[in-house]
Amino acid sequence: MEKKGVTRRQFLKYAGATAALLGLSESLIPQIAQALEELSSGKPPVLWIQGQNCTGCSVSFLNTNYPMAAEIVLDKLSVRYHPTVMAAAGDKAFGVLEETAKELAGKYVLVVEGPVPTAEGGEYCTFGLEKETVSFNGYQRRKDKPMTAWMEELVPGAAAVVALGNCASFGGIPAANASVTGTKAVQEIVKEIAKDKPVINIGGCPAHPDWFVGTVLDYLINKRVPELDRHNRPKMFFGKLIHENCERRAAFDAGLFLEDWNDDNPDMKLCLFKLGCKGPVTYADCPTRRWNSGVNWCVGANAPCHGCAEPSFYKDLSPLYEPLPEVHFAGLTPMVDTLGWIGAAATAVGIGAHYLYKQLGKKEPEGGES
């Protein structure tokens, strides 16, 4: 390692940052350093493909800090295919997918960004070319290859599949048109192709870079899929309600709510519940992790959490700027104003979410221990 210009000290510092990212104890730093060291020598191959996506998760990935994007792409992983960054185009590009699937079967990690449309033989999302041809302006041109065909080719040989972002994990916005495009979440497709293939869902619209990088590092260090909740999301990132750790929780408990964005209350930031905050029903660690190098997060910007990490986002969480419906707690019928009082009285915050979901008439998502 010294040969590569990295000192032991730097490396330990780096392992420390990784431990912090994963929320692990500092006592594990030597083990992490060792695992990272091993990693740098044999880099796991990654194929990163895109379906009905918006590339938001890739852009979000570029915002990673520990390690930096360039380090991950060059030193930690062998990113063989990623349509937004790779040099190759056309057959030079998709050829890499075909070769890797053959040569490294069982070894590569398949990252899928965006869900998979299945209607019309997969015509709603294609990339790369099939062997067969079609006629086109007087020529024979090779046919477009549907995303569904790529899934069939790449899933069986994947060591693990990572569904990155809410739409890959749960269908997200494109799945709201499932009646037209037949859009399915990645895990549904994988189930049809290789029943026991592990799929890790990393929610978020987009996914936080730490959620992705941390999951991949954890997988590489421990050589097993991390502990998942019942939506197959890593518990280390999606185990707690936003509302539980929110910096405005005291305002919520005191019944102090923001209703006009012109109200500036620097002493006690007002709770955003009345402006539609979905923090009470959303499992993610945004309040403590924050976004963009820790600069800010949604509630920090005086805006409600929209619940973008939940399987129910967007459709079942609309209207986004209206408060969650009136809640009824154990025989009481309090208005939102008194909800803070109830919240304060409830011993476990999870109970609040449980009731909210009941009242919404929706299935409880249960990110972690509620």
């Binding site: 009905q52 918006c54 790779m86 056309g90 020529y139 477009d144 949604c298 805006a303 700027y321």
Partner: protein, 531 residues
Amino acid sequence: MAQLISIDPVTRIEGHLRIDVEVENGVVKDAWSSGTMFRGIEMLLKGKHPFDAQQVTERICGVCPLVHGTAASYNLDDALGVELPDNARIIRNLCLGANFIQSHILHFYHLAALDYVDVTAVAKYTGNDPALAALRDKIAALAKAGDVYPFLPRYESDDYVSDPELAAILVNHYVQALEMRKKAQEMLSIFYGRMPSFVGTVPGGVTVHPTVSNIAAFRARLNELRVWIDNVYIQDILTVAGVSAYAPFLTAGDSGGNYLAYGGFDQDSKGAEKFLPRGFITGNNVAAVGELDEDKITESVKYSWYKDEGDWLHPREGMTEPDVHKEGAYSFLKAPRYDGKPMEVGPMARMLVLAGLELSGKRKEKKLMPLIEKLGLASAVDACVQAGKFGILPRHAMRALECKLLADEMDKWLDELKPGEKIWDKKDIPGEAYGRGMVEGPRGALGHWIHIKNKVIDNYQCIVPTTWNAAPRDKNGNRGPIETALIGLPVPDPENPINVVRCVRSFDPCLACAIHVIHPEHNGVKEFRVV
């Protein structure tokens, strides 16, 4: 003999794009641009609370969520009759500007540069700059391990920048640029909560008050970026443009001479004065900038996978019914036209409109032309004007010039923020109203239109920049701007059509943006409008 070359996927862009070119005697004779992915976003909004539009339309594109959210905000402001407070107008401008900076840097270094620079040449670096030597060692180690992904494979070409010193500097900047664009994202996060998919605008204003500390945090990053843009980005553009092998790209890759800009960055509450002006140019006649008539926008679907009934309609009464089996169609993109003509949108369109207004004296305060002079680009611009052609290199250069103009101006906007004053104009949602929001995104002119009925969204539609640029042919057989730009480019080796992707990428296409409609019948929607 002529031959067809299909490039699919065109990588290092956003989304799913296939390009087919017919090549004869080593030159592109004809070209077809096809969008190959279809989602459906506007129609989700039918029946929804109008405020949801920003959060949903942001998800059209992860590279440009900010622009959609901003267009949606202006669209709603218009429908609700909002009087936007100055603080909100300025914060929106600052954040839009920060997004231009991150997007332009990302485009040049991470999406385009690998078409011009030979990464493998870095391994031969012999100088003693420690950063470059470290980079050399890294690349050499990767090459030795036989794993230079994702830089290889690639299209081979004998005109890559292969001087080890120069290549090392440029690749080092590629890595630096990752950090720089990340800083620009942090700037957005300061006022807007997070990126991508921000939360800080709402109809009527913004959610965060300007304070001494958030202004300072924003300015600190802006200053750092301004230094880097001046000393690195602009210089690298000049360097690449100065490589003699690339001289033909000054005029090669011209899109046909028509340019359209909606204008952006309102300087007053009415939006009468804009930092980037609106207007259009035809036939490369830069000195004659026309005044935009929004009614002249129509869309053709003759060659798109939509039923023909929707052909040649103004977006207001447009319709879209997918027909994936339609004979002769080859794209999920429609073909927007202005006054019947295809139009290039984006930095080149904006800068040429600005140049035209400065040259004709219609714009008093001159900013662009003096910058062009100062950087020694005047003769190159003259050469383009003489030839009546603006090609691949000007497209990259104009993007960088725009980035600098904006970054410098943003510093002044920061001074105009007034902590403690209003940031929101609260308005009730009307029973029925129409609205429109027309802004500029990094990739060009973006329009959102809304019809509110019974206090919910009845109809929502967007026409996005890439639909203009990557459009297929229209009912009159006119090619889209990218299709036209490809014709005449040299492709000496059909196995390595590098010039084709160089040209396409100079437009910075973003396909997720361009295809976002859905089938009306299955959703029980009678009438709706489009892409």
